[in-house]
Symmetry: C2
Subunit: 459 residues, 2 copies
């Protein structure tokens, strides 16, 4: 009896001890391992709940998504050509979006690094206009930008000033404004080399300034002997739309150059040498893929020009949204921690896309693509294949004068060549969107190429 | 013996059961109550750690604050006139900042609502340029803005368009641009009533447009019979700097009016009636206190004007930072959930400050303040005392021609009256900054008033 009682008591003791150990483990995990979360729990739980909505892999739900029909959860926002409440439905006859340069090819990189790239802010976070140094610019962010350029080797920033903009978009006109003399006898001539990004012209025209005027293609001003009127040349390198590493065309004391380096990252081009222009524009949009955060920066040699650009940003918008600056900082920290990861991922993705596209187009004599040669990349320290952000497609047949319409008939929406001041025979196809968009683009191009080649044979 | 054994066993059973219950409670709290956080833990823990840095109640540490000397934690950013690593040191001879309109009086409201106002985003959150409807504007945010106006009763939004801006600052020129005819024989005349917010003039001049020109004080154009030139009148109500509920001065078919209602909230003024102007500008800055988020909006009657303002925002900055829109949405949700709390808090704070200031100034014949009468507020449904954002101080003594210098000698930095196109006898004192700033302002004013009154007696 005593024996039994004793063994029963022993069993109890073991169970009791186990239970105590479990308690200790649970308590330590809760109060040490998880850091005893209090006021942040609600926001963290909400973020995980929204992230857990899968949208069938063809869409996303967002914290600030629409909430319909009195439901608690935001709705799925589907990729183009996908629909249904969970984005599982593909609309096969839909026209694929290859128009806008939405850089969502980088989305999977950030899904992979969701934890390290996340941040949480409460309502009291940085409400002020100013940082503690009285500026509108986060010093911490500025120093991270310099680190990134030093590692990638795509721009010299030592001894240069850095100004921030609401996207590099805001900086385009800030630079034009800063470079234009006030009240000169004739306005500065703003030019760009065809084919060029249409916003240079549209934005310059929007402001209808007395001090500057858009004057079209750079080449028509190359041998112009008027040295009294200021010239402002936009040099886009790599070029949007054709990916070429453009160089300045104009020379002379009256010539100022704005280098738009939005695409000068290893994702899109080999980096032969660090850029060293007087004014160089960069943007998060095409670097980390955060187009919606509207964050860009300018690297500027001359202090007076820097001050004028800063003044523009102050009077136009009182600087750049501090929430966007916080986000950019968080993203750059991840980029720096992950060494070459974002560049390897970006290059591999874009290079594979270009290969697939080239292989489809090569089956057809109806279309051609811009020629881009492999080149040595100082960052990767090897020769790298082409990986451009856009295809600059040409319709080669005599009768295909309106190339955009030809593609449109094949259910592909590109951007018209005339938007870039090139002819209607050209169309820009965006290659840096979501994988869904790219896969559909290839599928539609395949159909177009095979169908039309058949058609031409039977004619 | 058996008895003892039995009671021992009973004791064990109770302990064991207790331990099991604790197990269950801990497990359920971890896996149900806290929702099993995974990838968000790091960001949540980081946010709580930074928020826990107290900075002695005279400063704040931020996620994106400077991190010095290889430390892990960001440094405290101290209130003006406070210093030291934890902001505990007051510099008594320091000049108090009553210059900028940094709306940090609302910070304690958001500290109180830290949990409900917090949000967490990962790197993949809304990277795109566009929302799912292809616009740059969050529909969800737009509908919350309409709800807020309906509840406060400060603006009619039914049947009106709403455009977003990078602060209402961007919308000032967007509106001027949209209202100016292109290529008219003479540029539109942009005017405002003295004393006026200097940015109207500075921003209009910055763009040096062929289509509009700043032409000074409204009153000098009142009886001008030229009906062929377009007039654009800025009407600021409540006015910055003097808090007056200004009305339009100009009339006629060639007159367009931009109503700047940044301060038309119950914090700063009784709301006699919902505003119903053709173009009305509002801003998060002076409503929730989030100046750094750069988010403003315009309520617009005419569709063509709305389209032109949207186009401006697109070409200038490709819309407003999506991170700022998310933040504004989150804040407005809290504002709506908390019923009248933010308005009660805002009014009580500003009203008490005005009382304290008035009482100090009333002790002196050297200075005077603008007169503001109590007025009936339709939102609170009672008569409310003055609670302006700024004091519009006048130096009354003959010899005090430079009022800013007089205050400066008393260690107070206000904003010069000539910045508002009024005389140097005026200074704007900001009343809506942190409590630290306001307390110091009162202290310095007390010293100035008593010292100078003594001085004048001894002369």
């Amino acid at each position: 009896m005593f024996q039994i009682q004793n063994s029963k008591s022993y069993g109890f003791s073991v169970l009791f001890l186990t239970s105590i150990i479990i308690n200790v483990l649970l308590i330590s995990k809760r109060y040490v391992g998880e850091g005893d979360l209090t006021w942040t729990k609600r926001a963290a739980t909400e973020a995980e709940a929204v992230a857990a909505i899968s949208c069938s892999g063809h869409g996303r739900a967002y914290l600030d998504g629409l909430i319909l029909d009195g439901k608690q959860e935001p709705i799925c926002e589907c990729s183009d050509c996908y629909g249904g409440p969970d984005c599982s439905q593909l609309f096969p006859n839909c026209t694929v979006n290859a128009n806008s340069g939405d850089p969502l090819f980088l989305e999977p990189f950030w899904v992979k690094h969701a934890g390290s790239s996340a941040f949480l802010v409460a309502g009291w976070h940085r409400m002020s206009y100013m940082y503690s140094d009285g500026s509108y610019i986060s010093q911490e962010l500025e120093s991270h930008i310099r680190k990134v350029h030093a590692i990638v080797g795509n721009a010299i920033t030592e001894g240069r000033y850095i100004a921030f903009g609401v996207g590099s978009t805001q900086l385009l006109n800030a630079a034009v404004r800063a470079l234009s003399p006030r009240n000169a006898s004739s306005p500065a001539r703003v030019v760009a080399s065809i084919p060029f990004y249409p916003v240079y012209e549209e934005q310059t025209n929007l402001f209808q300034s007395m001090d500057f005027k858009f004057e079209g293609d750079t080449s028509s001003w190359k041998n112009n002997s008027d040295v009294y009127t200021d010239m402002i040349e936009f040099v886009t390198s790599p070029n949007n739309p054709d990916g070429k590493l453009n160089q300045a065309v104009l020379e002379g004391e009256n010539v100022k150059t704005i280098y738009d380096h939005a695409y000068y990252w290893p994702h899109f081009t080999p980096i032969p040498t660090p850029a060293d222009g007087d004014i160089m524009l960069f943007s998060m949009s095409k670097f980390t893929g955060h187009a919606g955060s509207r964050f860009g920066w300018a690297v500027i040699k001359d202090e007076a020009i820097y001050q004028r650009m800063i003044r523009y940003s102050q009077l136009n918008t009182i600087g750049v949204c501090r929430d966007s600056q916080l986000r950019a900082l968080k993203l750059l920290k991840v980029v720096l921690q992950q060494r070459n990861d974002i560049y390897e991922f970006g290059y591999a993705t874009m290079m594979k896309r270009w290969e697939r596209l080239s292989s489809v187009i090569s089956m057809s004599e109806r279309f051609s693509l811009q020629k881009i040669a492999p080149n040595y990349c100082n960052f990767f320290q090897k020769v790298r294949d082409p990986s451009p952000a856009y295809a600059w497609l040409k319709c080669e047949r005599e009768e295909d004068k309106d190339c955009h319409a030809v593609l449109r008939a094949g259910k592909i929406d590109g951007r018209e060549g005339n938007r870039f001041s090139a002819g209607d025979r050209y169309v820009r196809l965006s290659l840096l969107r979501r994988q869904d968009d790219f896969d559909l683009l290839i599928q539609k191009l395949n159909q177009l190429v095979s169908r039309k080649e058949d058609g031409s044979k039977s004619m």
